[in-house]
Amino acid sequence: MKKDIITIRNLKKEDIFQILNLARELEENPQPNLLQGKIVSTLFFEPSTRTRLSFISAAQKLGALVHGFDSKEGTSAKKGETLADTIKMAEAYSDLIVIRHFSEGAAKLASSISKKPVINAGDGANQHPTQTLLDLYTIQKEKGKLDNLKIAFVGDLKYGRTIHSLAQAMKLFGATMYFVSPESLKMPSYIIQELDDANIAYHITKSLTETIPKVDIVYMTRVQRERFPDIEEYNKIKDVYIINKEKVEGKCKPDMIIMHPLPRVKEISKDLDEAPYARYFQQAANGVPVRQALLALLLNKKGGN
């Protein structure tokens, strides 16, 4: 059966471990010819820097060819072509489709049309499963395990798809979660419901400083001004959800790590970039081996000759 990566909700623990193990294998033993002769389509209807470049890099490191576009402009979608028609075309031209789209459910639509495997590289505010997998890879690499960790999610928990997917994934590993956000950007109720159903312990709080000493991981996100109808409300809270050396040093667990899906703006002070806690740039770099593993698995090349 054709495999796709559309949502983290469909992945079981053993699927995740299979992906992470293969990512490690490919990172340690590069296989430049594994996907020789394969063509990967990257259909990015919405701009992206890290995700698109790391997919291209991952495909090329395995010897695949890549074609595609990086915005809706200049494509036939601009002329009114339906996504379904664009997918049929990409299916005919390539062996695997990577899609990012502004509409939620777009990747699922693509996977139900295409006979070739589809990877969701982000569908609106819904899912971004490859980001979650690279987050898990980073956590496993840095902490030596995924089970029973304490993780704080900080900032915009309402609109951040990265946050939603990672919380859904960490649920499988019995994490204790801290949701640190202003009232207007709190975690959506459907995620809370899923955590309740899975009997997961979580804490909802407005205080970052009180949370920092308790956790193994602080996962930061950007609080965007445009999310606030009222500029005064934004000004009131914007500094509360910033992390810096002062808030961390001598207060956190010595092996605490800070992650961020990037791009960061001010929410992580530059004075932390060289601190032992910072992992956000490694996290971004981990996108390449994880996406290599996904391409290899979906194209039925498990690696290891």
């Binding site: 949502t7 909700r9 009114g80 339906t82 996504l83 379904a84 789209h101 502004f102 509409s103 939620e104 459910g105 777009a106 699922k108 639509l109 569908d123 609106g124 505010a125 819904n126 899912q127 459907y190 419901q193 309740d196 159903d197």
Partner: protein
């Protein structure tokens, strides 16, 4: 409450045990205002089970699955009687459908099924939560839709 006798029909459908406040809404979604048949819409009838109930009788009309599915989303407790030659030949309870194919829009405005240019049918799948509560999940965007919030197309 007054006990009145509602005239029987000869051939057609009786939808019984409706919540009284929903009778006009159900008549609307079944497009009854446009029907040329005899229609009886009754509310606030006394009922042993429900206290008060509503009922709709439609002469000369047998509802299809899609119409029954629509009623079940609004009034899961309703029962349907099929009348032929003045006699009830069939009676059944409604079941909430497992899949809603283009019957109700996804409530997420950013869902691909709500993008006009894509002209894509909506598809909602029934799920049951741990607490036994039923709800629908969009096949495409995964968002949950409460049955009470379903907007029938």
């Amino acid at each position: 409450m007054m006990n009145i006798k509602i005239k029987p029909i000869q051939n057609g459908t009786v939808i019984d045990h409706l919540p009284s406040q929903l009778i006009f809404k159900i008549a609307q979604i079944l497009d009854l205002p446009k029907s040329q048949h005899v229609i009886i819409v009754a509310g606030n009838l006394s009922s042993k089970k429900m206290g008060k109930k509503g009922m709709i009788k439609i002469e000369g009309t047998f509802l299809n699955k899609k119409e029954l599915d629509k009623i079940s989303l609004l009034a899961e407790m309703a029962s349907v009687n099929i009348i032929k030659n003045g006699k009830r030949v069939e009676k059944f309870k409604l079941n909430i459908p497992k899949t809603l194919n283009n019957l109700a829009a996804c409530s997420n405005i950013r869902c691909i099924t709500n993008m006009e240019d894509e002209s894509l049918d909506s598809k909602l799948l029934l799920e049951t939560g741990k607490d036994g509560k039923k709800y629908y999940r969009c096949f495409y965007c995964e968002k949950l839709v409460e049955i009470a919030d379903i907007k029938i197309k």
